[in-house]
Structures are given as C-alpha cells and as structure tokens.
C-alpha cells in the first residue's frame, strides 16, 4: 500500500514538473484529483479497507492529495509567471517613439503676465475693474487734472475720434470712473488696452496694455504706496528684488514717483540687460492728486489714495527676456508656443 502511494506520489510530482502549460497541468490535475482521478479513486477505495486501517490510510491519502495539490498550485504559479514574462518580452514597446499629444494651445506672454499681476493684487484685496477703450476726453484728461490746453495732453500722443472722444491713452480714466461711483474704500486694478500715436518699432507700439491700480481710503499714505508696490515687485520678480522710488511728475498724482526694481539678471550690479544701471524702470505712481479726488466727488481732506500704472508689455518683455516688442503682435506660432 505504502509502496503504491509512494509510486503515485513520485509519478504525480514528475508529471507536474514536466508540464509546460496551464492546459497540460490541468490534464494532470484531472488525472489525479478529478472525479475519476487516481487519488480520488484511492479515497473511494478506502471503503474496501478494514475499519481500523482506514484512519491511517485516509491520513496518508490526504497528505498525498495536499502534496499534489500544492505542487500543482506552485507549478501553475510558475507557469503563469513564465507566461507573463514571455508576454512582457513580446509586448515591449519603444518608449522613445513620439508622444501622442493633445496639442494644447499656449497663452500669450502679455496675458500670462497679466494673470500674474491679477493674482498678486486680488490676493491683496484688489478688485479687477474694466473700462471703455474708446473714452471721453473728459475722463482721459480733464478728470485726471489735465485741463484742456495743458501740455501734458501732448505728452501722450493721443488718437482722437472727435474733439470729445478719443482712444484712451492710459488706463487712468478707469480711476475716475471708479471713484465717481462713490463706493469707498476703493482697492482696484484695471487692466486694458491703451493707444498712443507711436510708430511700431522694437520698443514702441501704437496699441499696448496697462494695468492701473488705485487705493482710496482714510489714512492712505505714501509709505503704503511704497510698501504695496515693493510687495508686488517681490512677488513678480522674486523675493530678493529691491525697489527704488524716484520723484517724477504725473498730473493726476502728487507727490508722484517712478519705481525701479533691482535688475533681476545681475541683482543690481549692472549688466547689459539694465544698461549698466542695476535698476530697471517699471512703473509710475503717486498719491492721488486732491484735485482728482475732488472732481470725482471725494473729500480730499478726509480721504487720500494712491495710484499706479504698469505697462503690461514692458513687464512681459522683461520677465520673459523678449527683445522686440513687435513679436508680441505678430502672433508667430513658434513664438507663442514658448509660453
């Protein structure tokens, strides 16, 4: 009996070992463990044994079955592993073949710069406001303390439609429009297209974009202006950026200033990028002129404010090191693809 079991065991294990596929293995499984399989038959044959022999025999057959079962499972796992390996080998691809891209489009550098400006200022509590591009001279000039006949009207070579209506030469009229609404305090920025009669060259365009900023409240000071714009410069050009304020003149602010930032290429040491100065002029700003506040119906003894205007193209040119403004309006796909 024992001999027979031993033989079956050896036979079974050897057949299992010789199996190369799951199908062959299945045959073996059926041959031993199936309804008519050898081991099943042994179990069935137990009834012919003397009752006292049955437990021992049962135990032995069970052991045999367990052994064969686990040998089959192991073999099955090994074959699966082998099959997988074979498949992986066959299915190997060339990962260096070209990607299947969705060919997503690209943003314009000016829009990218604007998005960043808007992110910075909305984060500081500024609302984004828009105004008309074709504007009354009254808003573009008069309400900004530039009365008729004032030479400052010539400084911004303005395109006129009629005596009274023009292409706005700055985004500042949105200041007046916002203040006139009378809702205080004000913290707003106003991006938009402006126009000046400049011929197209590497640094000029007859149409470009500005972002105007305005804060009006009680107790707004020049130091607030400086702090706000320094914060903005650090956000835009990096935390090491320093700012320099120089006196300047704008009719609608007093005191007025221009802000330079330390050159972000040479960090202020002076290089070709900043023409050796270490500083790059970025924007004009100042405290809202009391005449402007009053013309817009705000009591200049109670309220003060600051305003600033940034050229968007200038920021884009600096930030992305674009050397010719014309590129911004050509819309060459190879240019746009870089943003």
């Amino acid at each position: 009996m024992n001999e027979q079991l031993k033989k079956i065991t050896e036979e079974a294990l050897s057949r299992i070992a010789s199996c190369g596929t799951q199908a062959e293995l299945n045959e073996v499984r059926v041959a031993y463990l199936g309804k008519k399989g050898e081991i099943t038959q042994l179990m069935k044959g137990m009834k012919d044994l003397a009752p006292e022999e049955r437990p021992a025999f049962g135990q032995m057959v069970n052991d045999l079955r367990t052994k064969v079962e686990s040998a089959i499972d192991e073999a099955a796992a090994a074959i699966k592993r082998k099959d997988r390996e074979k498949r992986f080998k066959e299915e190997e691809i060339d990962v260096t073949l070209p990607a299947k891209k969705m060919h997503i489009g690209h943003g314009h550098p000016c829009q990218r710069a604007l998005d960043e400006l808007e992110r910075i200022f909305t984060g500081m509590g500024y609302e984004v406001v828009e105004g008309p591009e074709i504007e009354y001279q009254e808003y573009n000039f008069t309400k900004l303390n530039i009365p008729e006949g004032h030479p400052a009207r010539d400084e911004q070579d303005t395109f006129y439609i009629t005596d009274q209506i023009l292409l706005r030469s700055q985004t500042s009229p949105v200041q007046a429009r916002t203040m006139e609404k009378g809702k205080l305090p004000i913290r707003m920025i106003s991006p938009g297209r402006v126009f000046r009669s400049d011929s197209i060259d590497a640094t000029h365009s007859p149409s470009f974009h500005q972002v105007e900023g305005l804060a009006v409240d009680k107790h707004i000071t020049m130091t607030d202006l400086k702090g706000t714009l320094t914060e903005f410069a650090k956000e835009l050009f990096g935390p090491d950026t320093r700012t320099r304020f120089r006196p300047h003149h704008f009719n609608f602010t007093e005191p007025s200033a221009e802000m330079d930032v330390s050159c972000f290429k040479c960090h202020g040491k002076g290089c070709r990028f900043c023409k050796g100065e270490g500083w790059i002029e970025i924007l004009g700003c100042g405290m809202v002129h009391p005449n402007v506040l009053e013309m817009c119906g705000i009591d200049s003894r109670e309220y003060t404010g600051f305003a600033f205007g940034v050229g968007l193209e200038r920021i884009a040119l600096l930030k992305y090191e674009i050397d010719d403004m014309r590129l911004l309006y050509e819309n060459d796909q190879r240019f746009l693809d870089q943003f």
Partner: protein
C-alpha cells in the same frame, strides 16, 4: 536737455562731486539724469604742441615730418594730414604723446569703446613719436568746433590762443573745453523752470546743500531811450501778458569768444556768430526763447501783438507758407505780420548779414494758446514747446537784460538804453497754507516743522509767519497746494528713505467681475482645444472690408474713423475681427509655419451713430482661426460646443447654413444659433478671401467667431448634480439611407422629438456615401440609448418609441436598412 556740469558749477560754486554721485543724487531729488558723457573719455596725454618745422618725408609723397614742441621737449611726428604743408611752422595743435589715447579715428565713424592707444613707431622708416589730432580723433566734430578743417589736424585759432594764453605743453583738453561732463536730463513738464541752466543749478544747490549764486546781470544801454525807437501795442493781453522790446544798433558780426562757444558746444548747440549765439545762450541759461527782428524791416518801427484773421497765411523764416486762424497770435509791425508769436519769426523780418539794427523780443505768451496754435499750424518748434508749458513773466526781463549785457560784453553792437515793457503787471504773490500735519499724514512720515521749513528755504520758497503761509516765487509755476508742498518735503527727505507699510483699515475682497471669469473659462477651453492666444490691433485699414468681400452697403463698413491715425493701415476701429485673425494666420503661413491655430479675445467697436456722439458699443469677440492638419470645420464646431458647455449652456446649438457670411465658403458656413439668437458663426474662409491674404489655392483656413457679451449674459458656473441612473440602458442601432443633401441635423431633430424623455443619448457612428450606396444617397447609422430614471425599460416600451422615430425618419425620406 543737455547741460555741461561746468555751467552748473558757475552758479553753484561749492558743488564738488563725481559725475556718478551727481547723477544719482539729482535723480533721487527729482531732476532725472538720463545719462552723462565725460567729454574727455578716452583722451589721455593730450597737450598743446607748437609745430616748429615741416619737412618732406623722403619715401612718401603724402607724408610730412614735423618737429613739434610739446613743452618740456620736442617730438618728431610723421603725419599725412592734408592741412600740414612742407615749410609751415608756428601752428599750435593738439598732440597726443606716445602712450596716450584718443577717442576715435580721423573720420567721423563709430568710435571704439576703449579709444585708441597711440604708440611711438616708424612710418615708412621714419620715427614718429605721438600724433597730432583732428577734432574727430578727439571725439568731437566740426559742428561743435566750427574752425576745425574738413579734413586734417585741428589748429588752435588766434582767439583761443590769446584767450587761454596757450603755450606748448599746456593741457589741450582743457583748452578745448573737453574737461567737462555733459548731463542729459529728463525734465518733467511741470518744471518749466528746469528747462534752463539756472533752474537745474537751483535744484543742484538744494540737492547738495550748496549756495545758489544767480548771475549778476549788469545794466546795459547807452543814453538813448528805446521808446524813441519802437512803439509796442499789445491788443490781446490775455494771450500776451508781457512783451519786452530792446534795441541794439550798429551790429558787428563776429565769432563768439571761446568761453561762450564752449558753453554752447558742450550743450550740443552749434556756435554760429555772436548775435545768434547770444540768443541761444540766454535760451539755455534762462529757458526763455527770444527773437531778433531786423529793426529796419519793421514798418512804422512799431510792434502790434494781435491775433491773425481766419484764413490768413504767412511765410515763416524757414520759407514755408503757413495757414493761420483767428486765434493765432501774431507779432505785427505797423503794416504786416512779422512773426507767429512764440512759434516762429517771419521771413520778411529775418536777420541777415546786412542787418544794422536789431529789435530783441522777450515775451510771455499764454501757453494754452501757443500749444493750440502750434497744433493748428502743424509746427511745433523749440520755442513753442517751451512757451506752451507756461513761462514765468519775470523771466523775460532777466533774459533780455542778460542778452543785452552780453551784446555789450561781446561788442556785438550798441545797446540802446531802456526798454519798452508792456506788462499786465506782476502776478499776485502765490500763497499756500502751511499744514505740516497734513503733509505728514499724506506721506506717512513724521517730518518736523523745522525740517520742512528748511527745505522750503533752500528751494527759495518764502514764509509768512503771520499767516502761516508758504510764499511761492514766480518761477515755481508748479506749486499750488499742500500735496505739492508734500512732494517738495519728500524730495529732500528722500524718496528712498521712507519705509514700506501696507494700507490698514477696512479690508476689501479681491475679486474678478463675472465677465472676466467667463473670459478665463473661454480662454482655457480654447487653449485646451489647441488654440494659442494671439494679441492683435484694434485699428486697421478700411481696405480690410474689400479683402473680406464685405458688401459696400454693409453695416460693418460704418466704422469709427480715427482723425489723426498713424496711417491708413491703422485708421479705423475694427467692426469685425476676421481681418486681424487672417493677418496673423497669413504671417504664419508666409513663414511656413505648419498647423497654426490661434484665438483672439478682443473688442470690436460699433458706433451707435456716426460721427460719434457717445461712446460706441465695445463688444468682445472670441475669434478662432486655424489651418493645417488639425483644422477642419468640425474641429471649430467642437470648440464652439465645448465653450457653450463649459459656460453651462447645455441646450442644443443650431447651425444655420443659410447665413449671410460673404467671407465664408458658401457650402461650408453656419451661424451658431442658441436660444433662437445668433451668437456667432463658423466656417471655412472663402477661397477668394484666403487668397487675398496670401494663402495658396487649396489651403483651407477655418474661423469661428463668438460674441462674448451674449455668452456672458447666459453663462453660469452653477451646477446641480443629477443622480447617475442605476437602471440599465436599452441600446438600439438604426441604419438608414437618406437623400445626400438632407442634413443629419434634420434626422436628429426627429430622433430627439420622437425619442422623448426616455431617449438618454444618441450618436452618429457611421456615415457613408459612394459604392454600394444608391446614387444621390448616403448611408447614416445611429446608436440610440434609452433609459428611465426610475426603472428598467421594457423592450416593448422601447420598441414603441423606436417605431415612432422610424416613422418620423421615413417622412424625411429615409429608407431604413435592416
């Protein structure tokens, strides 16, 4: 404004600083230095030499050998200069000693950054030790040094030798006035006083805490009285608050002395002769334009200041005939106009070489009127650009007296005593209440009253202790209110010294208006769909309409016209965006860029009436344009639908192919209709149009335009979740043969209508025409999915609906295929 530092130092004798310090501090106190140039840059070891002898070079016809006394020794220099001749001697010339440097070559070409080092050497075998210099080699030109030869060595003139007592070995750079630094300032328009050496000197004195010394103008004139020579009548004192006339007789033209030439030269002005130089000098020094008339040309020896008549014309001294209007102020004699006030004199009273007696005019004109007239006439001159800023009437008196003093000093003529001064009278003293706490509140500083007063006093602002008012001198036209005083305080406190704070007080929400949120969403869809953001111009040429085949009577042609455009190409405000898009695509096409896809989000400008009385309707348009392998009609349609979906507009979009879009391919165009309204259009660009933008026949260009205000009005980002239906769908396929010209949209209308509420979704999965399909027909197949929210649909229910759909389709002429 270009001004040499030496001139500033004449009035601020205590000023001592490097050019860089000067530049930095002036910039920070408000007089912005754009750049400065050290005239002696790259000029080293250059001395006055005296040519002792000139001999012929033995081996070269064009060369001479000179022995030159350079002070402590004599050097031998070989030169090829055409103005040095064999046998010459005694000339005094600038000599660069060997080891020294000059700024450039002998012609007027570009100069090397680091100059040119001069070494001793041999020229055709003859030792040459150093070099005699031309004016160009010294970094200047004949405009500045009028006595320099057209070609050859600069030879010091008699006057210069005498004036500076030049000896061999002296510093030639100093003698030539090149030991100077010229600063270029950006003067802001409010500081008309700083368009002058005096004004800048005042600022420099205040900046460096030095004393400002006004030039002491000596009285001039003989014992005669100008009133006996000239009568002046001002008919329009509002436009001419002050007119001063002085007379100079026995004019003797001569070159100006070297000191004056040097001043002008270093200010970038070419010296001409004593009379012209004097007016230019005074213009620089006091910022007061003056004019000189030939007294003998003035009929009646009379000046009448009055406006021209509409339609008058006048020949200015540049020989141009100018059209005038009734508001142009003119200077007349007893009979005729002799000059346009503050803009330009007339040819008929111009100073010529034969002048005997000159009338000097120093006047004050109304700036607004001068600006208006200059614009009207189309002639902006140096004088008008100063006058239009509004000058100090007191300045005219200083300037004319300074000029007459110089006339006497230069012996340019005999000044007649006295002057005719027609003046409305000095302006009242301007006063500004001194409110130091408001100044500090505005600045966010705590500057003491003493410090503020100190600043005012160094700016020559007076103070009235009794009324606590700041008294503004007449030359400070810009100071009006407390904010102006605050700026003066801040300028000298230091813009760079104030700290950074952030506004305190009521907090505000940073936010975007809804329109911009819609814009952002649309930009995202466009970019994710493959389109890149283009920026285009808002103005364009009226020719665009023809290129786009827009009919002559189209509303689109009612464009707003710019009255002073940059040229025809930029002369109208666009009423459509296709031209800009086609222009951008065409640029890409010409540069051989493949597969270009662009979008533009910008306004069109629609006038309510023309000429414009009120602001036009500015409507933002989304414009998509594409050519190349990714572009076709249905791609454009896809983006349009994605945009509607992104904006929460989920109803069915209709496409109207019978739209009037002359710029589109007649068989490939559609209006985009939503909620019964036309939101825009899309299609393939008409081949005639793409051809006129330079596209080759057969290149297909696609565009789509959507009106953003209409989208924004309906857009919503609010979403309400609907349960995902857990009951299974009953799916049916339907295949049919339909007439070729029947749009599938009609089939879909039937499918939707008859499918009713249990029709969950459907999609076209096959469309085919050609072989195996009957002539004039196409085969179309749909996949329909039916589903109910609350139960599993029975086949019978779906069958019933399918029958209705099929019946409907048959009515359209569809033959169902099994």
């Amino acid at each position: 404004m270009n001004t040499p530092l030496s001139w500033i130092k004449d009035y601020v004798p205590g000023l001592s600083c490097t050019p860089q310090e000067y530049s930095d501090r002036m910039t920070l106190s408000g007089t912005k230095v754009e750049s400065y140039e050290e005239l002696s840059k790259n000029l080293e070891k250059i001395v006055v030499g005296k040519v002792l002898s000139v001999e012929k070079h033995p081996d070269a016809d064009k060369l001479t050998i000179c022995q030159v006394d350079v002070g402590d020794h004599t050097v031998q220099i070989v030169t090829g200069a055409p103005n040095i001749h064999v046998g010459d001697s005694g000339m005094m010339v600038p000599v660069v000693l060997s080891g020294g440097k000059v700024a450039g070559g002998h012609d007027d070409g570009p100069r090397p950054e680091d100059g040119i080092r001069i070494k001793a050497g041999k020229l055709r075998g003859v030792e040459s030790d150093g070099m005699m210099c031309s004016i160009e080699e010294l970094g200047s030109d004949r405009n500045a040094y009028r006595d320099a030869p057209e070609s050859g060595i600069y030879i010091f003139g008699e006057e210069m030798i005498n004036e500076y007592d030049l000896k061999p070995g002296d510093d030639a750079i100093k003698a030539l006035g090149m030991d100077d630094v010229v600063f270029d300032y950006e003067i802001t328009s409010n500081r008309v006083d700083c368009y002058s050496v005096i004004g800048i000197a005042r600022e420099a004195a205040a900046t460096f805490d030095q004393k400002f010394v006004m030039p002491n103008i000596k009285s001039s004139g003989n014992s005669e009285d100008a009133h006996d020579y000239i009568k002046v009548r001002v008919e329009d004192p509002d436009l001419c608050p002050r007119y001063i006339a002085r007379v100079v007789k026995n004019i003797r033209f001569a070159p100006s002395p070297e000191w004056l030439q040097k001043r002008l030269r270093n200010s970038g002005i070419r010296p001409i002769n004593n009379l012209v130089d004097i007016t230019n000098f005074v213009m620089e020094e006091f910022g007061q334009p003056m004019h000189a008339y030939d007294y003998d040309d003035l009929a009646g020896h009379e000046i009448v200041v009055k406006c021209a008549k509409d339609g008058d014309s006048f020949v200015t001294l540049d020989g141009q005939e100018r059209k005038l209007d009734g508001r142009t102020l003119m200077i007349n004699d007893a009979e005729k106009p002799v000059g346009i006030a503050g803009i330009m004199g007339g040819q008929n009273s111009m100073i010529t070489d034969h002048v005997h007696t000159v009338l000097f005019e120093a006047a004050n004109f109304n700036g607004v009127n001068i600006r208006r007239s200059a614009q009207k006439i189309g002639m902006r001159t140096d004088a008008s650009s100063i006058f239009e800023k509004g000058l100090d009437p007191e300045n005219a008196l200083l300037a004319i007296n300074r000029a007459c003093e110089l006339v006497e000093e230069l012996q340019c003529g005999e000044v007649v005593g006295g002057m005719v001064d027609v003046y409305v009278g000095a302006e009242p003293q301007k006063r500004i209440a001194f409110e130091p706490e408001r100044i500090n509140a505005l600045l966010g500083l705590d500057v003491s009253v003493e410090e503020m007063k100190k600043t005012f006093s160094k700016l020559e602002l007076g103070f009235d202790e009794s009324t606590n008012e700041v008294l503004v001198p007449s030359f400070r036209r810009d100071l009006e209110c407390t904010a102006d005083l605050a700026e003066e305080v801040l300028r000298f406190y230091g813009y760079d010294k104030i700290e950074d704070t952030l506004p305190v007080g009521e907090s505000t929400n940073g936010r975007y208006p809804f329109k911009l949120l819609v814009d952002q969403a649309v930009r995202e869809v466009a970019e994710f769909s493959g389109f890149s953001h283009a920026f285009t111009y808002a103005f364009e040429s009226p020719k665009a309409f023809d290129k786009l085949l827009i009919p002559a009577d189209s509303e689109l042609r009612k464009a707003i016209v710019i009255s002073n455009p940059l040229g025809e190409d930029f002369s109208i405000m666009r009423t459509q965006t296709l031209n800009a898009m086609m222009t951008a695509l065409s640029l890409n096409y010409n540069r051989r860029n493949k597969d270009v896809m662009l979008y533009d989000m910008a306004n069109i400008y629609l006038a309510k009436e023309l000429p414009l009385k009120e602001l036009p309707d500015e409507r933002e348009q989304l414009t998509l344009g594409a050519y190349g392998q990714y572009a076709d009609f249905y791609v454009m349609k896809g983006v349009v639908e994605e945009i509607f979906e992104r904006l929460g507009l989920r109803d069915k979009i209709h496409y109207d192919k019978d739209c009037d879009r002359p710029y589109l391919h007649p068989g490939r165009k559609a209006d985009v209709v939503y909620d019964g309204k036309v939101f825009g259009f899309l299609g393939e660009v008409h081949p005639d149009v793409s051809e006129s933008y330079g596209f080759k026949e057969g290149v297909r260009v696609y565009v789509a335009v959507l009106d953003m205000p209409m989208l924004t009005e309906l857009a919503s980002f609010d979403r309400i979740y609907e349960n995902i239906i857990k009951y299974p769908a009953n799916i049916r396929d339907i295949s049919m043969l339909v007439p070729k010209e029947l749009p599938v949209g009609k089939l879909e209308d039937v499918i939707e209508e008859k499918g009713g509420h249990i029709l969950d979704e459907y999609h076209l999965f096959d469309i085919y025409e050609g072989e195996q399909v009957a002539e004039g027909h196409k085969s179309v197949a749909y996949n329909l999915s039916f589903r109910a929210k609350d139960r599993t649909l029975t086949n019978e229910e779906v069958d019933a609906v399918m029958e209705k759909i099929i019946a409907g389709l048959r009515e359209l002429g569809a033959e169902l295929r099994s």
